[in-house]
Amino acid sequence: MGILLCIGISIFVYQRDLRKISKRVEVLSQNQTDLIKHLSIESILAEDRPALQTTVEGLASLNLGIDKVVITNFNDEVLASWTAENFQRGDHYKTQTPINYLGQHFGEIYLEWNRKALVAPMKARTAEIVRVIVTSIFGIGICLVLFVEIFFVRPLALLEKKVENVFGKSDIEIPPHQFCSRELTHLDESLVAAGRAIRERERREAQLREEKARTKAAEAAAAARAEFLSLMSHEIRTPLGAILGFADLLDSSEISGDEREFVGHIRESGSFLLQILNDILDLSKIEADGIQLEKVPFLPASVLQNVALMLQDQAKSKDISFEVLTDFEEDLLVEGDPLRLKQVILNLAGNGVKFTDHGNVVVSGELLSRKQGRSDEVAIKFSVKDSGIGMSPECVEQIFEPFSQADASITRKYGGTGLGVSISHRLVSLMGGHLEVESEEEVGSDFHFVLQFPVSERSVLEVNTTESGGEVQLIHESQGRRILVAEDDPSNQSMVKKVLTRMGHEVVFADNGRDCMELLKSNRAFDVLFLDLRMPEIDGLEALRRIRDGECGVEASTMPISMMSADVLSQDEARESGADDFIVKPIGFDKVQQFLGCSSQSNSPRVLLPDTSADNRHWPNNNSSNGSKEQGKWVMIVDDNPAVRQMIEKFLARWGYRTGIAVDGEDCLQQLANHPYDAVISDLRMPGMDGVTLINKIREGDAGDDYREVSVALMTAEQMTDKEAQDAQADVYIPKPIPMDRLKDFLQSMPSDPVSLAS
């Protein structure tokens, strides 16, 4: 580039000098002409040839570079001339200048200038200029190159590396560099920052990908585990339910004392096995994040009371007191998962009863705070204190770990799986709390935790849910009843009155059985009767029998009657005497609501959640017969397990039902088409068509239009939520192992008119 520039400059300068020379020659010529004119004008005008010749020769002697001079007159006649000796034609600048004087042209002066003589100095100067220029250019060029190299090329090369670094071609981060140019420095800093940002983003993206992969794997594993658990739950509960069921059947049969003892062991072992299974499944679900907490309105006080109900007999048998203390109102309605809360309290209180030989177990609920805002929120501290064997500090440290009891001797002495506390700990954590324990050996233990609940915006009366001893029932509101309560204990009267009046019912009290019967005879219409078991004069059982026998009238003989007693063992007798329900004292709102809902003969589905407490299984009266209306009703039993089918069939037969058997949904549909049935009891999981599909097809009319509204109970070893049960379109959900009393309740709730097939 430089060479071309130099050549161009040289040519330019040379050509420019040539022009200069030409102009100079012009000027020189004019000057010489003027000189000649000045010196020889008279000679020129007079055409004085000799004089002019002298003049030209004099001009030539000046060595101005003139090789030839010719002066002519206006007729081109030579007046004078001179030619240099070494004159060579062709290498001259030629000029011809007119000789004018006072506007008159007198001739021409013709000059030939020696080019070399003229150009030589120009060439020398040009060469000098070119040398200077070239030198300058090279010098400037070198400086420029160095400048560009130092201030641009190297920084740009460095920046290029950083760009590569930014776009991940190199993992090595090049630190910021201080350049001479502020702009380059800023660019460099921006690149470094961009590189860091890109690497950070790539790292985060990689992390996210990993997390997604882990999450996906975890979700897949969780799904697989849930599926496994579900399958295991079903596969284990089903035969276990059959074992327990047949044990019950045996127990209700004519067997010897030894055989009855053997059956007792079977039942006890089976129940324990069921408990272990439930605990293990629960723990597995919790570990697999398979527990979904519900958020439904419930009464915390009721939860505590129900736990007391479930454990008080056990406590009584060990001669320890069991108390429930709350400092908040009984009708405090909050939103949460009552079943899980009850499970925790029951676990802890159950352990308290189990590990206490004397003293007391106190279950308390303490309202710590109530926040008012957009939505009210309460903080309740739940506590289970016992005066039992307590735990050593080492045990306290590991009490929340699965399968850890105090030591093996404790396990042998007291039994248990060691999972309850661990499950409770995890459930409390799921519910947003933290289970803590203080314990001292030989003094006792205190398990406590705090949970936050939003206060339900609905009133107790509006809520159609009630939590009751492990059951969740959807019951229509039974407001505005006229209720007769036969109760001799004033405190119980007060409790019942409080509960019933809050529910909007009219309450009339009788202090004993006699007064109760008198009130019934007095033609005062009552919708429901609550009858205490132990009363003076005529106790509850006698009154019940006499009322059912019609002594107080036909209406009274068929009215809904619930027996109340703290003696849970009397419930069978009460049922045999004609009681529709048996409420174990202390009387809870939920129990009352439940009975009242049942007594209103609502058509809403009842969703029954499993009672995980083996001790609280209520087995139906083996000899029960609830009236002639049940006789002859047909019930379809659908289950792929023959043992379960047989067990249910036996119970139904005892209750007076006739049964049909199907091995799966398809079989059931075919049989329904051929024979009228009043109800269907179906297992959920079956090969081929499962229970949900079967029920949906029945509702859609695949078994005939008459079957669209048939009562259907769905059995499963898995827990179902209300929504799942609703979606399944079953009337009731019955867990496995099957609580027969609930099965019986379902059967008794089905419509009277049998399904008739279209001819």
């Binding site: 161009g8 040379y14 030409s22 055409e47 011809q96 007119p98 004018n100 042209h105």
Partner: protein, 305 residues
């Protein structure tokens, strides 16, 4: 890649083009000035001779010639260029018009006679007019303190003549002296000093007792304070402008027309007030005087300066 060389190439091209453009035509001829050179115009030559300095002659005649050039061009309707050719002597001037080196020329009366003798074909364009007359005075001057009162007093005195070819300076004054019976031998000394003003200055310097010069030169000397005075005057015929026969007749007519119609203010530069028609007859007496003057110095030594 291309852009790398674009700039230097472009620069090189620009420099080259600028360098090559208008290099000055080293082999070309330059004419920085030309005066009316019109290849399509007729060029005629006006001849004049240096009675004085050639530049003075150019100065004297250039305005008239330039005017004449434009007038004749206008008359003819085409461009006419008139060049001046200055002869360095009377004889050269006479020769130029006689042989045709000059197309037309302004001659003194004696010069005209000589020229006509050489080329009888010369034609008079016009003659100068001095105060509307065809004649003007020549003078014999003496020192202002001279005792010479008349021609007779010149006997035995020295006398300065002008040019041997001068009408006033020689022929008419010698004819006058002869007519008064004064010949060269009657003078103590005489010389031909050439220029009229030289004669006047010589007399003023009393180098000569008397001399003959034209009245305009005498007036100029008087104006400059030279101590001379007029002794007597004599008539001379104004100068003719003559044309060589090779002058294009159309141009000849145009020149004559222009001259005869010259405005006085334009003619003033020639110290005349115009031109008058003329012919050879107006110069016959000059010829005769010239013949007679030949006898003035048959045997005298002629000194010419």
């Amino acid at each position: 890649m291309i852009s790398k060389f674009l700039l230097p190439s472009f620069s090189f091209l620009l420099l080259f083009l600028f360098g090559c453009a208008d290099s000055g035509s080293p082999n070309g001829t330059e004419t920085s000035e030309s005066v009316g050179s019109n290849p399509n115009s007729d060029v005629i030559v006006f001849g004049a001779y240096t009675a004085d300095k050639a530049s003075d002659v150019v100065e004297e005649f250039a305005p008239t010639i330039n005017w004449l050039e434009s007038e004749v061009s206008a008359i003819l309707g085409r461009p006419i260029e008139i060049r001046m050719k200055i002869a360095n002597s009377y004889l050269a001037g006479i020769s130029d018009i006689a042989i045709g080196k000059a197309h037309f020329s302004r001659l003194g009366p004696a010069s005209y006679i000589h020229a006509a003798d050489e080329n009888p074909g010369l034609e008079i364009l016009a003659m100068e007019s001095k105060k509307g007359e065809r004649t003007f005075k020549g003078l014999i001057v003496v020192h202002k303190d001279s005792s010479i009162k008349n021609l007779a007093d010149l006997r035995g005195k020295s006398f300065a003549f002008g040019s041997p070819l001068s009408t006033i300076g020689r022929y008419l004054v010698q004819d006058l002296l002869i007519s008064n019976d004064i010949y060269s031998s009657d003078l103590s000394n005489f010389a031909y000093l050439g220029r009229h003003d030289s004669v006047g200055m010589a007399v003023a310097a009393e180098a000569f007792d008397a001399g003959a010069l034209k009245s305009s030169s005498f007036k100029a000397l008087i104006k400059e304070g030279y101590p001379v005075k007029q002794l007597l005057s004599f008539d001379n015929v104004t100068k003719p402008w003559v044309a060589h026969p090779n002058l294009d007749p159309e141009i000849f007519s145009a020149i004559r027309q222009a001259m005869l119609n010259i405005r006085p203010e334009q003619a003033k530069v020639l110290d005349i007030d115009g031109f008058l028609e003329s012919g050879p007859e107006y110069y016959d007496n000059i010829g005769e005087a010239m013949k007679r003057a030949k006898h003035f110095d048959d045997t005298a030594k002629i000194t010419s300066q």
